[in-house]
């Protein structure tokens, strides 16, 4: 490798840095003011590419392309404003995770809307008119458009800087970032300010997408693939800091460029291909930055941010009625395989629903009582699944030891390692770090073809012996799910669980009364991960095969949706939320061609009608009815 090659890649990195900056900066601005982590940011970016594609191909020529970029920006800004007005405005007071759920529903709806309008083919846009050539630099050819892109990032940064520092709108944004209630008391219409901020952030996403058109085809996977990148930029740069966002984009892009420039190298006799690191480079950077500077490169510890959310209520132990109900449900579940004579699908669906219940309960354990919002819970599910699958395929173990020993152990190891880092952070930063670890696991599984089978995964891992019978496997799943749920439930109401909740509600006070905050959180993280590993193992044998999709960020998000559907504040929430989500998804996939949109709309209705989750709302109504009954007529 020559110095020239390295320099050339470094220049390339500048162009990528601009793209990355545009992906993240809008999200950062939106988060800064509204405190909402907009999961739909990738969807807005995706819309930007598609709209630019349509303009470029239908209008055509230089106007179609360059005008299309302007049109995409404005149109996506308008869509962002609409999302804020129709949806988010109603839920600013809802718990943080509810807002996440709502924006995730938008992801689903936009995804199907895009599919409906543009179809599922990848669409490759034209090259930029006037910039189709290349320039010779350092003996290599660099596309003119890439050179243009190098300047776009800094130019947008300057414009935003001017906007924030020199205009009244910018001042209001900065003031609202700190204390929106006070801004309102000074006569500023927050609702309008928030709409404009959303429009700005969305417009930046649209611009980023549109500018990417000549560099990559428009496709339907962009929305979720991008959200990871966007989070990394925001978190590494520091929430709400635009300069930080550019710095983060620059560092990540340059490290990736360096990895590509290094290529295959032989170090101490071991050959290693550095370009493979590009998939995980940004997440490694994020992990390192968050550990060294927990609030990002340019971020500040956010002590006194005034929010509007209502504090969470404590969980209560089940009353007699709930216990009776649970008994009846359990009895029905035990006899369910008998129904398979009439409805063979019952056991298959039942297994999926039970596994979802265990998965959701393990996630709820760290989210609800633990107060740690994990965005990467699929990692432990995947570790369990791959652990069990590979133990059978490569290790020659039989089903039971693979399921009961290897799956939980693999997840335990991962949770212990990642958890140790995660409990050092809190809030959104912790959530992002869990996401990063999830992506790292995914990348390793995806790339380590010789061991994990890469994108093909591991096939032929059906349960052996007696368990080959679906009904018997179903009963095993039921037994393990019930034990897992009961175990975590017992922990929640045990002294350890009380300590955990004390830590969640007030870490400082908990530390002051002698609780070892990090240790408690770490143990909770490990417990949840280990139980989740069992769910993953059960899943592997239920499906007979495992693919990297088992670990994908999509599954982590599904888990969050399950937990929120059930409601955070009740222990029984995830036990209902998990199966309910699975049932909804399963029914919708088979009955509705645009099932994502349908699911998204169902979630939106739930968010708007049951702001405390299904179980939470039922509890709320029961309380309301009881109060009414107590009052004299």
């Amino acid at each position: 490798m020559t110095i020239d090659a390295l320099l050339f890649q470094a220049l390339n990195g500048l162009a990528s840095a601009s793209s990355l900056f545009l992906i993240g900066v809008g999200l950062s601005i939106i988060f800064g003011v509204s405190r909402i982590v907009n999961m739909a940011h990738g969807s807005l970016y995706m819309l930007g590419i598609y709209i630019a594609y349509s303009c470029a191909t239908h209008i055509g020529g230089a106007f179609g392309f360059w005008g299309g970029i302007v049109i995409s920006t404005l149109l996506v800004a308008a869509i962002g404003a609409m999302i804020e007005i129709v949806l988010l405005r109603r839920i600013y007071r809802a718990p943080e995770l509810f807002q996440l759920l709502a924006t995730f529903a938008v992801v689903l709806v936009v995804s199907d809307l895009t599919l409906w309008i543009w179809g599922n083919e990848d669409l490759l846009g034209p090259r930029a008119p006037g910039m189709t050539g290349a320039v010779e630099i350092l003996g290599r050819r660099m596309p003119t458009y890439d050179i243009f892109m190098m300047f776009v990032g800094p130019a947008v940064l300057l414009v935003l800087y001017w906007l924030l520092a020199r205009t009244r709108f910018g001042r209001l944004i900065r003031a609202a970032t700190q204390d929106r209630e006070m801004v309102g008391a000074l006569g500023v219409d927050q609702a309008r300010l928030f709409t404009l901020v959303f429009a700005l952030g969305a417009g930046l996403a649209g611009l980023g997408g549109a500018l990417q058109l000549p560099r990559e085809p428009a496709n339907l996977a962009i929305d979720l693939n991008l959200i990871g990148d966007a989070f990394v930029v925001v978190v590494v740069g520091g929430m709400g800091s635009i300069t930080g966002a550019y710095l983060a984009a620059l560092i990540i892009a340059e490290i990736k460029a360096l990895c590509i420039a290094l290529g295959a190298q032989t170090i101490f006799g071991v050959s290693f291909n550095f370009s493979r690191l590009t998939l995980v480079a940004e997440f490694l950077v994020m992990a390192v930055v968050l550990i060294v500077r927990p609030y990002g490169l340019m971020g500040r510890a956010q002590g006194l941010i005034r929010t509007l959310a209502i504090p969470e209520e404590p969980v209560r132990a089940a009353d007699a009625m709930t216990k009776g109900l649970a008994g009846i449900v359990l009895a029905v579940l035990v006899v369910m395989p008998l129904a398979s004579a009439y409805w063979p699908y019952a056991t298959v669906l039942g297994i999926d629903m039970l596994i979802a219940a265990l998965f959701a309960t393990s996630l709820h354990f760290i989210k609800g009582p633990g107060g740690m919002h994990s965005f990467g819970h699929a990692a432990y599910f995947g570790l369990g699944a791959y652990g069990a699958g590979l133990a059978v395929k490569a290790g020659g173990l039989s089903t039971m030891p693979a399921l009961l020993v290897v799956a939980p152990l693999a997840a335990f190891a991962g949770a212990a390692l990642f958890g140790w880092f995660c409990v050092r952070l809190s809030g959104v930063y912790l959530a992002m770090l869990t996401l990063a670890f999830g992506q790292i696991v995914w990348s390793i599984v995806y790339q380590w073809e010789t061991f994990t089978g890469g994108s093909n995964g591991v096939v032929g891992v059906w349960p052996q012996g007696l368990l080959a019978d679906r009904s018997i496997y179903y009963w095993l799943v039921l037994a393990l799910t019930v034990s897992g749920v009961m175990f975590l439930r017992t922990v929640i109401f045990a002294p350890f669980g009380l300590g955990l909740r004390a830590v969640r509600d007030n870490p400082l006070r908990a530390a002051a009364i002698g609780l070892d905050v990090r240790r408690i959180q770490w143990i909770a993280f490990i417990l949840a991960g280990t139980v989740c590993g069992v769910a993953g193992g059960l899943y592997a044998f239920a499906k007979g095969s495992i693919s990297p999709e088992t670990i994908h960020v999509g599954r982590s998000i599904d888990g969050i949706v399950m937990v929120l559907l059930g409601g955070l504040q009740t222990v029984s929430g995830p036990v209902i939320g998990g199966p309910l989500f699975t049932l909804l998804q399963d029914t919708l996939i088979r009955q509705v061609s645009y099932w994502r949109a349908a699911l998204g709309i169902v979630i939106l209705i739930i968010v708007l009608v049951f702001p405390q989750g299904v179980v939470g709302s039922i509890a709320h109504w029961r309380q309301w009815l009881a109060e009414r009954a107590r009052r004299p007529a």
Binding site: R171, E181, A185, L186, G187, V188
Partner: protein
């Protein structure tokens, strides 16, 4: 008494399930400076917040310049000319003095009888608070408590209010600043502004207020002329001194 600018009838307020204010009623005339007194936790700040619309759960009637404001969002209340100065100052620490003032800026307004209300500009405010004029580009986070106190008052005045809800401006600042606050309030009164001043310190209230209401545990227990309260040591002992 002149025409009423703000009248509050049977105001109740809750924090969650906790009932804090009980049927609070009060009245402020044009150009009047009225004290709202009471011990720590009596409900002074809660009254001001509830008037402003900053408390979710409240009931009762609040009329400002002849308009019912009891269901309005805080920003709409502010836009009618009701200024609010919070007790904990709530300066935007990342913004400079000038920028803080700009956030508070609103168009000039008139009284309900059509006469123009006082108009505030940065120059006038810097004349009123020379300390601020000396540091227009200083970030709010790098100012002393007293300077922040002046800034929070000045920021609210930038909205050209007709009436200011002023929450304990004397709390936790040096005697020099307290004295300056007295002068400021006197100057505002001369401009014709009405002020509802939440205050524990009777000497401060005495220096600037015409009338007083005294709160105890969310109930108004005493009301009358400031002079009468000064003379009534019995009431002072029962409701004010610690």
């Amino acid at each position: 008494m002149s025409t009423s600018v703000l009248s509050v009838d049977n105001l109740n307020a809750w924090y969650g399930a906790a009932h804090i204010l009980f049927d609070v009623s009060l009245n402020i005339g044009r150009g009047e400076v009225v004290a709202l007194m009471g011990r720590n936790g009596a409900g002074k700040s809660t009254t001001l917040k509830a008037i402003m619309g900053l408390i979710e759960r409240r009931s009762g009637a609040v009329t400002f310049e002849g308009r019912d404001i009891s269901r309005l969002d805080p920003f709409r209340v502010a836009r009618l000319g009701l200024g609010y100065v919070p007790e904990d100052r709530r300066i935007f620490t990342e913004l400079t003095v000038n920028e803080n003032l700009d956030v508070g800026r609103q168009p000039s307004r008139t009284w309900s009888d059509g006469n123009p209300a006082p108009v505030w500009t940065e120059e006038r405010l810097f004349a009123l608070f020379p300390n601020l004029g000396a540091m227009p580009d200083r970030p709010g986070g790098q100012m002393s408590g007293g300077e922040q106190q002046m800034l929070t008052v000045a920021r609210t005045l930038m909205g050209n209010p007709l009436l200011v809800l002023l929450d304990e401006p004397s709390e936790g600042v040096a005697p020099v600043i307290v004295e300056q606050m007295v002068n400021t309030i006197v100057a505002l009164k001369q401009e014709g502004l009405s002020i509802l001043l939440s205050e524990q310190n009777i000497h401060f209230a005495e220096a600037v207020c015409d009338r007083a209401y005294v709160l105890e545990k969310g109930h108004i227990r005493w009301q009358g002329e400031m002079q009468a309260l000064l003379a009534d040591t019995e009431t002072q002992r029962a409701l004010l001194t610690i």
